[in-house]
Symmetry: D2
Subunit: 400 residues, 4 copies
């Protein structure tokens, strides 16, 4: 029984799950913050992927118990396998999660690494993760089990919205996870929500949308994430160009080179060993040390980040105009004489998108009282749900 | 306006306070967890000294506003100075706070370092911290201002009990900070509580006592803290004996040597510069790296800590008997053949004390309806408050 | 200082407000539940108009303090008057509030009665409510003060959504009252919200909409309210037709006759004296007693309500068809042989409307960063706010 | 599934329980407030016995589920019977619960009435309550089931402390019901708490003690309760002495005469029928009406209570001195010339006792790690638990 300020208590439903939690792959998640740079804006948001994974597991147990109560057949083995799959769904995340996903190992998304690590665990646990892997990869006939792990209404999202609201203090994101779970059911082998739950679903989608704007895509968060990525890029560039640079022992190989999937697979022991020792602390120690690096640009970027002197960010519905970019560059060039045309470290143009509800990808299904199953946006009166299907794009210019 | 999941919102009452928060000395506290190893038992307890200091400041503003409303004279300058003092009260804490206080720089308690750092800041801010320093050091005539910062009922305690309960999920520690503050007053230049607040005070003392047993002195926490201290000790021993060991750049000087106060004062720029760059991430990177150290003992200790294979702990009201110690040593010697009589790394005997209420040190004063001021334990009906004055000691043996 | 589980503490900012709270007109609100029949569905929802009025006052103080901090000029007299107006905004509510508004005194809406009672109080308090009355009636130049009391974003709504969510346990209705108030400002003499508050406003409008469907217009609530109204109607009919019926002393005159505004004004002492003694307890005692009345229909209706054997309700997007009504009547006639063509007591056709946001009536104004003031639905990206402007109508048939 | 703001959701575990909740005996509890006059001090405390009984049922289900998980044998029938017993434990409470227990039907405590009503229900439900009655009356071999209903740590207390804290907003009374239940077990046929739960138990006992002083025995509550009892006494006196007085139809018989148990048993249909129609609304309507009674004393008392002009109360550790009583009487006689030596209505001397923990009556048993079972106060280090065994008495004088 583990204390959890969000749900009260967390419990581990089987020995296998207990052993997985004790494993160093999973313990590593204690040292990876859930919201990365989010803590710069929301000082309470220091919670970790470790806690999130345990929370999602807790919700999964509740959901599976409930479906069983409603008469849906779920064997004990399926129960455990689904629990394993949700527990490990984020196992492949590296330091600073999404922020550095493409910066440390450019072509290796965390899903691929999660796969790799789950397979490694499966060997260590002598095949006990077989079914969990099939469910995780949507290769298991009971599709709804996969949907509990990965869909527009999965236990991952239910937990992260609850947990991130709790730790940031942004009450707009609070969702009634318990109420939503109580209204889940299965029809036509699909995870569905009973019709009376429609308002809770609407609230859930809106909460998610608001959390995107207020937390995940908050402009200070965007600016610091961009900065962190540029730091890594610069460090790699220095190494590749024969420079010398301190790095922590486990970070060193990832700065000096960039392994591909093939590298990982061929030389798994080497690379995985290093990767599973990597966490937020390596990044922090590098950042702190590089403040004093010889490379002026790297030193400047690291001092900005550690000292929290972040670049400015302009958000706009329209594309940033060429004129605005020119003006920005001029002012940058004046202030930073060491820039040497390395614009990318000082100015970034781009956009973010917020897709509150995406019907195409594992949409939320409503079970109507007459037995019909339909998409949540097709249930009448929800003008605004229809509105939430649209993707909202915002352009930004981040600049020193 | 900063979101705080505990109090809703935090605000900074003046520009000076804003500038201090922005200062790198204070920003450093973002990287020092409030409860150190507590997170191993309570996964939600990842909050930082940064957040705690802001929270204590928030309570201080409420308390000062309230005292002013009750007609107590507090000038604007005193208001700000008291706020500065509470904001900076923990500024001298190093990585893992209390746990490593004596392990990294043995004879330099954090209070001394806080002093030093506040003085450094005072120079940088051209004397604007003068009054804050006098209040902090209890050299200011209005004694109650100092008592708000440091006494048995100060804003530090009110915040850490609220915050630690919140983040651990241990509801036993919840205190009604708002209610207690509402009942504060000043009499005879002392901070006092109105008589009707007696039950809230009782609850506060008991909450604190329970938090000690359930969180601060939790046996898993004790075991891991002892382990962490032994790691540092071993690392220093290796260095002192001519061994070679990786350390992060800012950790290096503290492993290689042990500066005294005199060193700090004479060579302040050198040592303070290093110290203010040190935080939890340095310790973590060292721990992870030392798992692979040549020294078998160090490697063993680090693997135990990172892999969360903690030593056993026995708690007892009586002193641990010599027989029990002998038995433990025998079993240790059998399991770890590399021990080489270095017992201290494998077994520790000691005790912890919980002193819920200490009348001697800035006790809590009650203002009776008849105007009399007396110690809270002298107000009748509180048999149990009297009981709480006793110190409870528990002996422990921590062993692999 | 009054304990409030929703906000922590409530305080009364002046002696006048204290005296008004102590007045029997206001104390009467202790005996009128905020949600009337809502308690049949949400057993926790037993809170009263008394508590709501105090809560709205609390929010008003926060809002006024904040506007003053932002430099908006509000004199002490205006401050108190606005507080008085919000405290008394519901003073004219009778038993079961909206449910019986047209059933006890058909042509006297509670707003008219509030006016009358505030004027009566103004005489008793020797003109001290003059300015409050002007603000309440939107006759005061600083229009934003009236908007704080009555608009699409007034303190009344902020409190009732927070309070009703809290007591029903319907988390969908939780609004961040504190956050919204922090973002209020005044521009062009209008109450406005700063642009960064747009997401909180969106959340607020949606929360209100969801509370309508889940609580205020919940189908069991609708059915029991309709039933209660029919009981009153039948009782009046019996009296008017020479029947005899028990009623509590203060209810008697309202059952025997139906005073008009003119009656109230001409014979104010008589009618107001009775009205201010009337509350939920009179209705309950009548209902319980009438279970044993000679009139079969009245007895049937009261037994249904007290015994919670409520009529069925069918909700439909389309108008209820004549065929459905005919079928229902046939089945009713078969079950209740004493019906004697008095259909209205056994079947009711009607509709409810949910107008989440009504731009026409004191719409919510956003203050853009460029100083412009515009309606919240005109700020881009809020497709769904636009959607919320539409009125949603649902038809119902309630029948035994 | 019923929304509960305290626990989230409430569910009814069987059809029998559903039918009992629907029964008019139980529905009546909707109209009896849990804290009677408490609402005069804590305006949020309007919750009812109905809600409390459902809450205690919810905790009972959790406790029974947990004990079963721990391997304690509990049959399905025992499960349901224990649930029935806790649901109905307060069924015999009359209007204003404890306050009027001796004032309406002097020699009939609510426990006797609960018995009578449960037996009546048992006949109606054809013996399905047999086992519930045996458990309720401690005549069932598995003693721990009775202890879950009635002991120093029963589900009744766990719920009312949680619920009363929640609705009053007095956070001092918050108990970790979930945590305590998780630590329950059974040893030697006794309900026990695992040793690690000792701090939660300590907190529970202290919370209960604080709730007594701050809520149940709050001095304004005491004064208003005494006043209410005197009102009933006076009304009965008037009737007995041939006076005429309005009363609601169901109140009438209890004002005119005072049935004994024998009366109830002999003429059960008559008396029970009246009793089960009686609730808080009858008292309120009488109080309001009697404000205008001819009897000056009755009218004075009712106006004081409805208008919230309560008598003064003096609390003292020592007995109230004869001199103080004489002085009070003199001042009363001067103010109220109609008193006519009827002192009891104007001045009351008495005492209240707070017995936080009573080892004698179903004390709390701790299951030590060595298997031993002992009283909670015998576990070391709890000096203050020992202190809590003492009864604290406070004397009062309540006077106009």
């Amino acid at each position: 029984m583990i204390n959890d300020p969000v749900y009260g208590f967390l419990t581990l439903p089987s020995n296998l799950l207990y052993d997985l939690v004790e494993h160093k792959f999973f313990q590593r998640l204690r040292r990876i913050r859930q919201l990365g740079m989010g803590e710069l804006v929301y000082p309470g948001a220091t919670h970790t992927r470790f806690h999130h994974a345990l929370g999602a597991l807790q919700l999964m147990c509740k959901a599976l118990d409930l479906l069983k109560q409603k008469g849906i057949e779920i064997t004990e083995q399926e129960y455990e396998a689904t629990c394993v799959a949700i527990l490990l769904h984020d196992i492949g995340h590296g330091p600073y999660s999404h922020t550095l996903e493409n910066a440390i190992i450019p072509n290796l998304p965390h899903e691929v690494l999660s796969q790799l690590m789950m397979q490694t665990l499966n060997i260590e646990f002598e095949g006990k993760l077989d079914m969990a892997l099939r469910i995780f990869n949507n290769q298991y006939p009971k599709v709804f089990l996969h949907q509990l792990i990965s869909s527009q209404l999965d236990m991952d999202r239910l937990d992260y919205l609850s947990r991130d609201s709790f730790y940031t203090g942004v009450h707009e994101g609070v969702v009634s996870a318990e109420r939503i779970i109580n209204m889940l059911s299965v029809a036509q082998n699909q995870l569905v929500v009973e019709e009376k739950g429609i308002y809770s679903i609407e609230k859930f989608i809106i909460a998610r949308r608001l959390m995107y704007w207020q937390v995940y895509l908050h402009k200070t968060v965007l600016a610091s994430e961009m900065l962190l990525r540029q730091v890594l890029k610069r460090a790699k560039w220095i190494m590749e160009n024969g420079g010398e640079l301190f790095a922590t022992p486990f970070m060193q190989p990832f700065i000096e080179s960039t392994p591909s999937i093939a590298d990982f697979e061929e030389n798994q022991e080497y690379w995985l060993d290093r990767f599973v020792n990597l966490d937020d602390s390596d990044i922090l120690v590098c950042l702190k040390t590089w403040q004093y690096a010889n490379d002026e640009i790297l030193s400047f970027l690291c001092k900005s980040l550690i000292g929290r002197k972040l670049p400015k960010i302009v958000i706009s519905e329209n594309k940033i105009s060429d004129q605005d970019i020119e003006d920005a560059k001029k002012s940058i060039a004046q202030k930073y004489d060491f820039i040497n045309n390395e614009w990318e470290y000082f100015i970034q143009i781009g956009f973010v998108e917020n897709h509150a509800y995406n019907q195409e990808y594992e949409g939320i299904k409503i079970l109507r009282k007459n037995g019909e199953v339909c998409d949540v946006t097709d249930v009448s009166d929800n003008y605004n749900l229809t509105a939430l299907k649209k993707t909202v794009r915002k352009n930004y210019m981040i600049r020193f």
